[in-house]
């Protein structure tokens, strides 16, 4: 009996191992046959492709894929074929670092798009910087990533290889505070965050600006992002007399949180950042979500001509998942890498130099082009120079842009 179960287990393990190797060889196979005689340059992707943030992660992956395919079709960089390798970080810093290490080990990788989460970015930055491999995040908004931990007082750029196309929380939080206080006329806020780098940072910048404007913080709470039961917090919100809730975090928690706050009878809007700006939020929050607000980076995608082309091409490519909140930024991040590679190749007489990674990183600093989300270029810290933000509100079960602008001190 014992013997037989052992055999069964060994067989199962062997089958599992075979499946895994099969996956591996299939991926490798793709890389070798896609090159049409020229050099193959890989754009790495790191994002949560599984787990409850996968809606955003898959949008990033598909958008980068679209950028690579577009460049190949146009033969944008002569003699270079782009392909992608996507790694799943499950929104975990530890997984992100492992992915960074394996992307660095792959010599054909000349740039990486990702990650989604600021906390994951923190664990990857040094790995990429040591290898001089350029990393462009479409979604990280924590100011410390580009301006150092002490960004409120002295800005110093910690890593020369890190860039982002997203706007930082140093702008997003105050922008939301101004809208809530000046336009929505709310004065008593209950601030909740998920204690992660992104959520806590956003909540802090919002709170500072909201107090400066004259608003009152009537309560604060931190939630556990693994939980779905926020009834105790919701009861506190109701009894605090707040007329608005600010949530620093992402939609998997924000949706149920909004739903449970509304269920207590407190008919007050929940306001969040780009982390809750996803159709899933509305699905999770239910019918009472009407009036909830989110700020997100950039102008509304529907208003830009460049974005319309992106949306059309994305739909035409037949991806199963939505491009989600960061699709446009991911496309631009990937395109920035493609531009940098083009510059390096052109400068080197149409071939990739031997120290291509360092050259691409250096070229990234001066990249400038008209992307999906507007003009794409980077300042001396690696932040996007485009600091446009938009407030969206839930109306009839969808996000609708209500105000676009930039935060000015």
């Amino acid at each position: 009996m014992r013997q037989r179960s052992l055999i069964a287990i060994t067989a199962a393990l062997a089958a599992g191992a075979l499946t895994l190797t099969a996956c591996g060889s299939r991926d490798n196979g793709k890389s070798s046959d896609s090159g049409s005689g020229g050099t193959t340059v890989t754009i790495g992707i790191d994002a949560p492709l599984t787990g409850d943030l996968s809606a955003l992660g898959l949008g990033i992956k598909n958008s980068v894929d679209l950028a690579a395919k577009t460049a190949n079709k146009q033969n944008y960089v002569k003699g270079v074929t782009f392909k992608i390798v996507a790694k799943d970080d499950q929104a975990q810093p530890s997984a992100g670092q492992q992915n960074a290490t394996s992307l660095v080990a792959d010599n054909s990788v000349l740039g990486v798009v990702g990650p989604l989460n600021s906390s994951v970015a923190q664990s990857m930055q040094k790995v990429f910087d040591d290898a001089k491999l350029v990393e462009v995040s479409p979604a990280n908004t924590n100011p410390a990533l580009t301006q150092g931990d002490d960004w409120q007082n002295t800005k110093t750029r910690p890593y020369k290889s890190y860039f982002r196309t997203a706007t930082t929380d140093a702008i997003q939080g105050p922008f939301a505070a101004q809208y809530v206080y000046n336009d929505a006329k709310k004065t008593k806020v209950f601030v909740i965050d998920d204690k992660k780098t992104y959520g806590a940072g956003l909540a802090a910048t919002f709170t500072t600006e909201f107090k400066k404007l004259g608003g009152k913080v009537v309560g604060t709470q931190h939630i556990n992002p693994d939980s779905k039961d926020f009834s105790a917090v919701a009861t506190q919100v109701k009894n605090s007399g707040a007329d608005v809730v600010y949530y620093g975090g992402e939609y998997p928690q924000a949706g149920p949180l909004s739903k449970q706050i509304k269920a207590t009878g407190a008919k007050i809007p929940v306001v969040g950042g780009d982390g809750i700006f996803d159709p899933t939020f509305i699905k999770l929050a239910g019918s009472n979500a009407t009036g909830d607000l989110a700020t997100s980076v950039g102008a509304p995608v529907e208003d830009l001509d460049s974005a319309k082309t992106f949306v059309k091409n994305y739909k035409a490519a037949g991806y199963k998942d939505e491009y989600a909140a960061y699709g446009g930024y991911s496309y631009d991040s990937a395109w920035a890498i493609i531009e940098a590679v083009k510059k390096v190749v052109d400068d080197n007489g149409g071939k990739l130099p031997s120290d291509a990674r360092a050259k691409v990183t250096a070229a990234m600093q001066n990249v400038s082009f008209d992307g999906v989300t507007g003009k794409v270029s980077f300042d001396e810290y690696g932040d996007a120079t485009n600091k446009q933000l938009t407030v969206y509100s839930v109306e009839n079960g969808a996000w609708k842009a209500v105000k676009s602008g930039t935060y000015t001190g």
């Binding site: 179960s5 779905k228 149920p256 899933t280």
Partner: protein, 310 residues
């Protein structure tokens, strides 16, 4: 405004859900001394079973009063099938293996079930919405009870009463007690222990299914990861109440739920503790409570009533 009654009700509801899932841990442990770490995922598949009945089997717009019993049956069918299948194919071959082997199998099974739902259930890559019962919330004094919570408030005590009757009064129930006390002697007395073990797994799964439907109605959404943390909490509840004891599981669940809720609401009010009082710390306080209880009562709150082996 005094929010204590509301917070107690919040805790009671959360705790009842822990309790329903904890039954499965405690029954399986009581009879085969196996910590079935895949039980949280059995709970999760139950929720998806209920959703399948509502979305893919019943015609659109079926009234919840007709749909709910059918969803409950669907949830039980799916979770029981998976639990019994797991027992037959994953645990039974390992029954005489060293303790660690089935434990690791359970963890593996848990991951496999999660990923299977993620990969193959339609649109399960992000959370799926669960049908809700219409009608506004009910107000009793300063306490608000959501419509979706009514199901849990009724289902938890009713199923506990049925289980108590089953274990204490029926022939099979007494067979379970006998197997828990001493499987070899029970076998000599003519108890079909293999059958008893299958029934223990099935009963645990039925309770998890009730809990899963309650979860869906309460939170309005289910996802492939919902069983992980809830399973961990339910296991904690089972240990807190005294693993192996079915009433202990329910009591442990309620104590845990109330403790978490009160920690969220009140710890921050204690002077100097404002850093440690948020919802994110509730789990820490729940486990502090667990450690305290186990220090003074290593056998859990209600001890182990059905078996007393070292």
């Amino acid at each position: 405004m005094n929010e204590l009654p509301q917070q107690l009700v919040n805790g009671l509801l959360l705790g009842s859900m822990y309790g329903l899932v904890a039954i499965g841990y405690t029954m399986v442990y009581g009879i085969v001394q196996l910590i079935n770490f895949a039980h949280g995922e059995i709970f999760m598949t139950g929720a998806f079973g209920a959703l399948t009945v509502y979305v893919y089997i019943l015609p659109n717009g079926t009234s919840m009063w007709i749909a709910l019993p059918l969803m409950l049956i669907g949830a039980m069918l799916v979770s029981t099938t998976i639990a019994v299948g797991a027992e037959r194919f994953a645990y039974r071959p390992l029954r005489n293996a060293p303790r660690l082997a089935p434990l690791i199998t359970a963890i593996g099974l848990s991951l496999a079930l999660q990923q299977a739902v993620w990969a193959w259930y339609p649109d399960a890559k992000s959370a799926r919405t669960f049908p809700q019962i219409d009608g506004g919330p009910f107000h009793i004094g300063s306490v608000t009870i959501q419509t979706g919570d009514i199901f849990l408030l009724i289902a938890a005590p009713v199923s506990m009463a049925i289980l108590g009757y089953f274990v204490m009064k029926t022939r099979t129930g007494r067979g379970m007690q006998a197997t828990a006390q001493d499987p070899d002697t029970a076998k000599l007395m003519g108890v079909n222990t293999d059958r008893i073990i299958v029934i223990a797994f099935a009963l645990g799964a039925v309770f998890a299914a009730v809990g899963a439907v309650a979860y869906g109605l309460k939170y309005g959404q289910i996802d492939f990861k919902m069983g992980f943390l809830l399973g961990l909490k339910a296991f904690t509840a089972a240990v807190l109440g005294g693993i192996g004891n079915i009433y202990g599981a329910m009591i442990g669940g309620i104590v845990l739920g109330v403790a978490e809720t009160l920690a969220t609401a009140y710890i921050a009010d204690i002077p100097g503790m404002d850093k440690f009082g948020s919802n994110a710390w509730a789990d820490v306080w729940a486990f502090v409570l667990l450690i305290l209880v186990l220090l003074f009562r290593p056998q859990g709150l209600l001890g182990e009533r059905v078996a007393d082996r070292a």
